[in-house]
């Protein structure tokens, strides 16, 4: 008899604790991401980082910015690799331009945005995150109108979209 009761109680405990826990860990992420133009990307980026479960809004912004920076570094590596084997002068010109843009993103734009988020002057985070997004777009534009020309579309889009998310999150703090 008591065995059944304890089994039932344990089962109920198991169900009821699990759902609300996972809900409260996600709810700030969800509410914040809903105020960015890339909801799914925002949620997946944040949920894959363990810091996000106990983060406040500025830290959420920093997490996305860190991811953007990582993607930017990866894209820069891709660009360097492509440059080594590129022969078409137009392609080389575009790639070289992108090197400068990505150096800007990695050395200045994203670090300043993170700094501003951490220290509490969000208008600078908005400005520099916007700049990062613009620079990624600028790089993509250098390969011409058709998106099939760019060998790094994926990286550019990721960096751009993540930067836009950072900008949106920082705007919430103004």
């Amino acid at each position: 008899m008591t065995k059944i009761i304890s089994l039932l109680v344990l089962q109920a405990l198991f169900c009821f604790t699990l759902f609300p826990l996972s809900y409260s860990a996600n709810s700030l992420i969800e509410t914040t991401c809903k105020q960015t133009p890339y909801l799914d990307l925002c949620i997946s980026t944040l949920e894959s980082d363990p810091r996000s479960s106990s983060a406040d809004v500025p830290v959420l912004g920093c997490i996305v910015a860190d991811t953007a920076n990582a993607k930017a570094s990866a894209t820069l590596n891709q660009i360097s690799t492509l440059l080594k084997s590129a022969t078409d002068p137009k392609l080389k010109k575009a790639l070289n331009g992108c090197v400068e843009l990505y150096n800007m993103i990695i050395k200045h734009d994203i670090p300043v945005a993170i700094d501003a988020l951490e220290k509490g002057d969000p208008k600078f985070a908005v400005e520099y995150a916007t700049d990062a997004g613009n620079n990624a777009q600028d790089c993509e534009d250098r390969f011409g109108k058709s998106s099939t020309n760019s060998p790094i579309s994926g990286g550019n889009k990721a960096v751009h979209d993540l930067s836009v998310i950072v900008e949106s999150i920082a705007s919430l703090l103004l």
């Binding site: 759902f19 800007m104 734009d109 700094d115 509490g120 613009n134 600028d138 760019s150 103004l174």
Partner: protein
């Protein structure tokens, strides 16, 4: 932290307490399983119900007060991306380009970039600057402090730069006044203001972003009051003296003002903040700048304006043309409340009355309250701060002018930002509704040779070159008279005009635009029009607009191409008057004696050095314009480090 709310639905929803003893008889297996799955289903149901759409979601802020996340509408202005799903080239995103155009970076070369440095505007030798801090006059020197990054041409690592001048124009750089060397300003030595005590001593209050990034207020003072250069500063050992009050977020409490003396023998000062989207300013009282009492309520609040940064609060005379000490308050005085809005990066002011008894500011015109009405400057101008100059009995205004080019160009050229030329600020006694700003008279000491142009007729649809020699360092005073007959004859319409949506100086109206083309190249491929536009309503009333058009200021696309401006009140009998300071990449323009001001940053690629020219233009369709001008070549102010002082920061 485990959410204990989850336990409540258990007893509420299944209607029975699981700890209640079941019947003592043995229950058949089927029934046990039924109960088991029943409870499971109930559990799932309960979980679904508790996870509502979050529209009332409330979170705990760092200070334990509950702050609703969803009360603020998202600040995004651009729609969700409508570009091709696979591609990156979406044009719907406003964030892409500062002007909506394709924003490929221009190949700036050293010649173009070094031309951009100003000759007579305050700027450090290199790196990033932002807000003006603690301006004051002391023992024969004007002091200027400023937010400075010693390491890069982007924002960050903020400390206090310092410079001195005898005349607000010729500046000498000094060592950094304060660096981030305490826990209470570890993350930034931010903006602050000076108060000069009756015995002549100086106290400085400034915001520190502390080791936990909480915004606190700190006290500092000169180490040696007998040093006229005020090189060394000491921070009060008991800092911080103020921390965010209850209910205020740790990052919404900054930029303390100069204090004013009350009739009860106490000092008061104000600090900006916000509650949700309402901008507010708190008032604190103190006798020693060490312990404070926060007064109930606020000095003022305006819904929807967001965070109030760099609040400034000062008296202006209703009858005299001199400045007033910050503590003056009498019936001859109006008060000005000024705020810098974090949300839109503009400085706004409102004129009103200050009631000392309840420390309240009442604006004269609530429809144009601070944050929703008049701006100091309709171009690039932020974080402005005034001080009372007891040397010349005037109130002087400083304003931060940031770059309008790309951050990459700033990094390439190694610097970012200038300050405006200091301006005297007075109540416009003729309108009573506006302030008048005017470059301090000491700037006239930079004037070299002058060129007079008397009663030049500029017919409708024409451009007149003004031969003044080099046109990158100029002080221009101009007066325009528009053909009266054309004014009277023009058909009025109800179409609303605004500088920003007007399409710029190329869009012709009956009575405008007309004015100057600054930093213009001979072929006019690059030009920056500074101009008036008169709009006539269907009731015959005239409205004059004053605009600055950057759309064709540069062939580069990675610079700001907006059109700035506003309506400017023109009273009966007044001619249209204009003053323009051209100093390389900055143009400061003043209409009607400074009633409406526009500052812009301009980055031509061709209209630089000897190729930069100045023109008169009149693009109206129906009216001729008569212009009289006096134009001076301007010398450099030779802003440089103070000689023979060690430990220079830049």
């Amino acid at each position: 932290m485990v959410d204990t709310v989850s336990f409540l639905p258990v007893s509420n929803f299944d209607g029975s307490n699981p700890s209640e003893p079941l019947q003592s008889r043995r229950i058949p297996m089927k029934v046990q399983l039924l109960i088991f799955f029943g409870l499971l289903a109930v559990g799932l149901f309960a979980a679904l119900l508790t996870s509502n759409n979050g529209s009332d979601f409330v979170t705990e802020s760092e200070h334990g007060s509950l702050v609703s996340l969803n009360t603020a509408k998202p600040e995004l202005l651009q729609p969700v991306s409508r570009g091709p799903a696979a591609g990156v080239s979406e044009k719907s995103n406003r964030l892409f380009a500062k002007d909506g155009e394709n924003m490929v970076a221009f190949p700036w070369n050293n010649s173009m970039l070094s031309w951009q440095r100003t000759a007579f505007h305050f700027q450090p030798e290199r790196n990033w600057m932002n807000d003006p801090n603690g301006p004051l006059f002391y023992k024969g020197w004007y002091h200027f402090f400023y937010q400075y990054n010693p390491h890069a041409a982007v924002w960050g690592d903020i400390v206090w730069g310092h410079a001195v001048s005898k005349d607000l124009i010729h500046w000498l750089h000094l060592p950094l006044a304060m660096v981030a060397d305490r826990t209470y300003d570890k993350n930034g030595v931010w903006t602050g203001s000076a108060t000069i005590l009756p015995d002549g001593k100086i106290v400085m209050l400034y915001t520190g972003s502390d080791a936990d990034a909480v915004q606190v207020q700190n006290l500092a003072y000169p180490t040696d009051h007998s040093d006229p250069l005020l090189i060394n500063w000491v921070k009060f050992s008991g800092n911080p003296v103020l921390v965010p009050p209850p209910g205020i977020l740790s990052k919404d409490f900054r930029d303390p003002t100069t204090a004013w003396w009350t009739s009860e023998g106490k000092w008061r000062l104000t600090i900006g903040s916000k509650i949700n989207k309402t901008g507010i300013a708190f008032v604190y009282e103190t006798k020693d700048f060490i312990t404070y009492e926060k007064l109930d309520g606020v000095l003022h609040a305006v819904d929807g304006t967001g965070m109030w940064e760099c609040v400034d609060f000062f008296p202006v005379s209703k009858t005299k043309e001199n400045g007033l000490d910050t503590s003056i308050n009498n019936p001859d005085v109006k008060h000005v409340l000024k705020v810098s809005l974090d949300d839109d990066k503009n400085d706004y002011y409102a004129i009103g009355t200050y009631h000392e008894k309840n420390a309240a500011f009442i604006p004269d015109d609530p429809e144009n309250d601070v944050g929703i009405g008049l701006r100091y400057d309709y171009g690039v101008y932020y974080a402005a701060k005034t001080f009372y100059d007891q040397n010349k009995n005037r109130r002087v205004l400083w304003g931060w002018i940031k770059e309008s080019d790309s951050e990459a160009a700033d990094v390439q050229k190694g610097w970012a930002s200038v300050q405006s030329i200091p301006r005297t600020i007075l109540l416009d006694q003729k309108t009573g509704t506006h302030l008048l700003q005017w470059p301090v008279e000491e700037i006239e000491s930079l004037r070299l040779n002058s060129y007079d142009f008397n009663q030049v007729t500029v017919q409708a649809g024409s451009v007149v070159p003004l031969d003044v020699g080099p046109a990158t360092q100029l002080d221009i005073i101009a007066e325009f008279k528009i053909d009266k007959e054309a004014l009277d004859k023009a058909t009025g319409s109800d179409l609303t005009f605004s500088c920003s949506s007007s399409g710029g100086a190329v869009k012709r109206g009956a009575l405008g635009p007309f004015g100057l083309l600054a930093l213009a190249e001979d072929s006019l491929s690059e030009q920056t029009p500074v101009y008036f536009y008169i709009a006539k309503g269907s009731d015959g009333n005239l409205k004059t607009f004053f605009c600055n058009d950057q759309t064709r200021s540069s062939e580069a696309s990675d610079v700001n191409k907006q059109i700035f401006g506003s309506v400017v009140p023109v009273l009966e009998g007044e001619n249209l008057s204009l003053r323009v300071l051209v100093d390389h990449s900055i143009i400061e323009s003043f209409a009607q004696g400074g009633r409406t001001v526009i500052t812009s940053r301009v980055y031509p690629t061709k209209a630089i050095y000897g190729a930069a020219k100045l023109f008169l233009f009149n693009n109206a369709t129906e009216a001729g314009v008569n212009a009289s001008l006096r134009i001076w070549q301007m010398s450099s102010a030779f802003i440089r480090p103070y000689p023979n002082i060690d430990n220079q920061p830049q």
